[in-house]
Amino acid sequence: MPMHDRTADIASAQAAGTRTRRSGEIHAALSVALLCKTYASLVAVKDVSFEVQRGEVVGLLGPNGAGKTTTINMILGVLSPSAGDIRIAGIDLAQERSRALAQANFAAVYATLPGNLTVEQNLRFFALIYGIARLAARIEALLQQFDLEHLRNTKCGVLSSGEQTRVALAKAVLNRPQLLLLDEPTASLDPSAAQTVRERIRGLASDDGCGILWTSHNMYEVETVCDRVLFLSRGRILLEGDPRRLPAEHGAETLEALFIRLAREPLSAVERTQ
């Protein structure tokens, strides 16, 4: 696609997003337009466009290798897109990386916090990196909120998976982000702990107006937590909609059944329902 066409398409995609918001002043927590990532001949992500509104929890679903983590890495600024546009709270990530990333945060099972620092030291370190004012009060509040007070002087490396997840989530909300990216945040938790985490995250969206992009392979969790889901396969968005209505709309009994069908036969599954 010629460059001028792409630029026009990106502008058009963003304008469409802006129109849906009505207010004109409040930006979406995340706006992604025609995002692409290619490695030589391999297309990892192709023309992905979506938005996450404030207070909305959006599930990013797809089989392994679908492009979920690649998409998240591009939004986190640790992977440059080959093309496309990412705006966090209306700030262009490519143009104002530091300012845009100050509005976001993340937690992922594969990105544990440094194990050689204690819980409190880790929070203090990241609070400074995010430039948080009155950090002592903020850290105390988070230690209490995530039930970490008794672990404040424990090195993160010796914590259980569940405790590490709680610390990662406390770090993820340190800067009161407008956009929170969670890559399988409950993957290593027992059902009770996972339930608590889901409730807390749901609260972040509803009470604090944080936009959340959530990846998970747990379809029950997705139905419970997400307002909207995006099905990604082979780097493209195949389906988008309400996780509670999508299965019926596409002739599947459950979200899990739909997921399996899309993962195995992505094109025919979509064509069958169109």
């Binding site: 490695y39 983590t69 690649t70 890495n73 986190l76 600024g77 640790v78 992977l79 440059s80 990386r97 530091s98 300012r99 990333l101 100050a102 976001a104 993340f106 992922a108 594969y110 990105a111 544990t112 916090l113 440094p114 194990g115 050689n116 620092l117 204690t118 030291q121 203090r124 370190f125 990241f126 609070a127 400074l128 990196i129 995010y130 430039g131 770090k171």
Partner: protein, 267 residues
Amino acid sequence: MKLRPIAGILLRQFYLIRGSPVRALPMFAWVAIDIVVWGFITRYLNTMSAGRFNYVPSLLGAVLLWDFFTRIMQGVSTAFLEDVWSRNFLNLFATPLTTPEYITGLVISSIGTSAIGLAVMLVLATVVFGLSFFSLGAMLLPFLLVLFCFGIALGILASALVLRLGPASEWLVWPLPALISPFVGVFYPLATLPRWMQLIAKGLPPAYVFQGMRAILAGHALPAAALLPGAAFALLDVALAGYFFVRVFRYALRTGLLARYSAESVS
């Protein structure tokens, strides 16, 4: 550049050193051992020369300056390697932290750790072996500054190489000072070297420092003009190393190296 993120990098280093004797000890233990070993060697050589030549300033002084330079370089690269060892790149670089803020944090933490090493070396060399470095007074400062700048440049270069080549390449960057040591004439005049080595030495700032120090110890005035090219090269090297790091960082962003680093999938 914002101060808080830089303070964050410094605080992290402080926490790591405070809570870990294995990090605190090498800041002064190895340089102290170096000074002791070379101190006794110079004493022995002084005995052999029967007072005709004082080896203390020329050999022990050279060891002190060289160790200062290597500590600066290792201070920067070790602070960077902490993020490699703790698989912290994804957490760190998905934040508002900018590359200049990160590098500044590494450099300032290196100043702190190498200052401790320098103090230990000066005290030991002066008190135990009678090295009268303090008598050089302010004349010492330009030499230390040139070595400091080149140490910073080499530390940033080493960090960039590890970022580009993967965690295992730390074994490649530790011996970088040893690689350049034959060319810079730490213990011998540059005239001792063959012509091709002298040509390489002309581009290495420490060569000017050690030549200048030998001139001072021989009773000459501060060779400011002779040290200037060394200072210019050192500043240029800092700029080049910074540029190289930024280029490698951008490469790591483009290829996904940075995102994969945390999973140690790069070797």
